[in-house]
Amino acid sequence: MTTTDHLHQTEDPSLTSEGRQGLASSDVNDAIARLIEKGAVLRLAEADVADETPVEVADEESMIINMGPQHPSTHGVLRIMLELRGETVLRSKPIIGYLHTGMEWTGEELSYLQGCTNVTRMDYASPLFSELAFSLTVEKLLDIEVPDRAIWIRMLMTEMNRISSHLLFMATNGMDLGAVSMMLYGWREREETLRFLEKVTGLRMNHNYIRPGGVAADLPDGWRDDVLRLMDMIPPRLDEYDTLLTGQPIWRERLQGVGVIDTETCMALGTTGPILRSTGYAWDLRRDMPYLAYDQVEFDVVVGTFGDCFDRYAIRLQEIRESIRIVHQILDRMPKGDYRIQDKKVTPPPRGRIDESMEALIHHFKIFTEGFKVPEGEAYCAVESPRGELGCYIVSDGSSHPYRMHIRGPSFVNLQTLPHLMHGALIADAVAIISSVDPILGEVDR
């Protein structure tokens, strides 16, 4: 019996198995007032800390310490200033920018066809989602429709990427909490998934596979067997994780009740993804604002109950199972057809024709050097990445390069919950909390 039966959601996102938990506007207003006044966020200028200017602390017993940016558990280059009283965290401030790459600037320099190589490196644990958001936005600006097979291939690849990203979470979460063997197990499964992704896209990471107009290449022969082999291999391994982690008293003690957040705070902070769902609020873009063909596949939206770290871990574990379920349905229903739109303005010709025809050569040349032009306008499209709502906002000016490209990174917004999650927690819990938020600093800093 799957544990999600009782969690199956109907239309209203605030309806859970415990009855209607309507989010009244006043509840959110209370949360907003609390967030503004209470101050779990340490308002501290980095320059003051660098100069060792005396800073105002809560009381004489508190001190401010710095965690990161180089630290084994900060999931990348995240720096956190913690105000501690003994072992208890009072206020904190996440300091980012250590991985700022100027990718939004780079997005203006590269053409629309090259744009995916740039955005794919933002969320490097689930790169296909960034490519998908970018491609959907460009397609919206171009007003083109992608063939069915391309849509289903995109769904297949993004669900495989969701599986590999959640396995990475399992591995790093386990290791951060001391279950070091979980690191090895998680990577064992993830490597098998990456093997499939490499077979299809050519690369293990940063694939540049989902492009405006469709996908870069069709699925190779024998892909069904590969996928089936993976889908048969992973579920028993997930049961191993349950044995190793989910039922273990140490694991539960470390995660249950730690880093609790409520729905109103999440709404006020703009949080999406597993953090929002862990509070019991069932909002998943795949079901509520479907894109690609998610309205044609069946899957459950997994929610938690207490909003703590254990819920977030359990949600992601169950989401792997849901993704497997979706992949099985895609296997059955993959349509035949083109893997990219045949519109000459957007799509280069097949490589074989370049040798035969001068027009094809020129066409290929123009698309890859100059790029295709996108009419003037602006659009925003979003997808449900493993971390939350990943959106892409593009302003175009009629040329072949985006005029302004902005990615709404879910981790950037979700990191704002960190001070509220860590308020009142112990230092050891801080590691567990950061791990449960699962930030990817590439999309935080861009």
């Binding site: 949080t271 894109y291 906002y393």
Partner: protein, 179 residues
């Protein structure tokens, strides 16, 4: 709708075909449609009130707040009565009940790049406004802690402005000495 038509994650709403007669208004403010997405164009003075009203309407989450510098842009389409300025602040709100997003585009002049902060309505705009300040130099009045977030705190300049030098290093491989 047909079950083979692809949907794409944007809030496709039926675009009204009759625009000519009445001005398109949302809560009294000029609005438009962009590829099936609702866009409202408040002025800086109207922004906070509009966001509060929409919050009560159900647009309870602010997804995104970003900036754009239109210095080199050849020309954008704006509804009548909206004067284009150099900068824009774009706010995206979402309503879960209606499963729709709305986008607010606020024109910000170069001479006076100050916008009232949305922190009091959506505390989640804390980091987003800091990023817009860092990248564009737009000041948000009422923000509790408007400091640089992505660049080092002592950085000079606002990198995403169009008149900011790229910082590109001229790369030349031939002249580099070998070991």
């Amino acid at each position: 709708m047909s079950d083979t038509s692809p949907t794409d994650g944007a809030d496709e709403v039926a675009e009204p075909t009759e625009h000519a007669a009445e001005p398109d208004l949302v809560h009294g403010i000029a609005a438009s449609w962009s590829h099936g997405q609702r866009v409202v164009h408040p002025s800086r003075a109207e922004l906070v009130a509009l966001v509060k009203t929409m919050h009560d309407d159900g647009y309870m989450m602010c997804l995104d707040l970003c900036g754009a510098d239109y210095l080199d842009h050849p020309g954008r389409t704006l509804p009548e009565g909206i004067a284009p300025e150099r900068f824009e602040v774009v706010v995206t709100l979402i309503s879960h009940r209606e499963a729709s997003r709305v986008r607010l585009r606020v024109q910000v002049p170069e001479s006076d790049p100050v916008v009232p902060s949305l922190f009091g309505v959506h505390p989640g705009t804390d980091a987003m406004e800091r990023e817009v300040f860092d990248m564009f130099g737009i000041v948000f009045e009422g923000h509790p802690d408007l400091t640089r977030i992505l660049m080092p705190e002592d950085w000079v300049g606002h990198p995403l402005r169009k008149d900011y030098d790229s910082g590109r290093i001229p790369v030349q491989f031939k002249g580099a000495p070998s070991r």
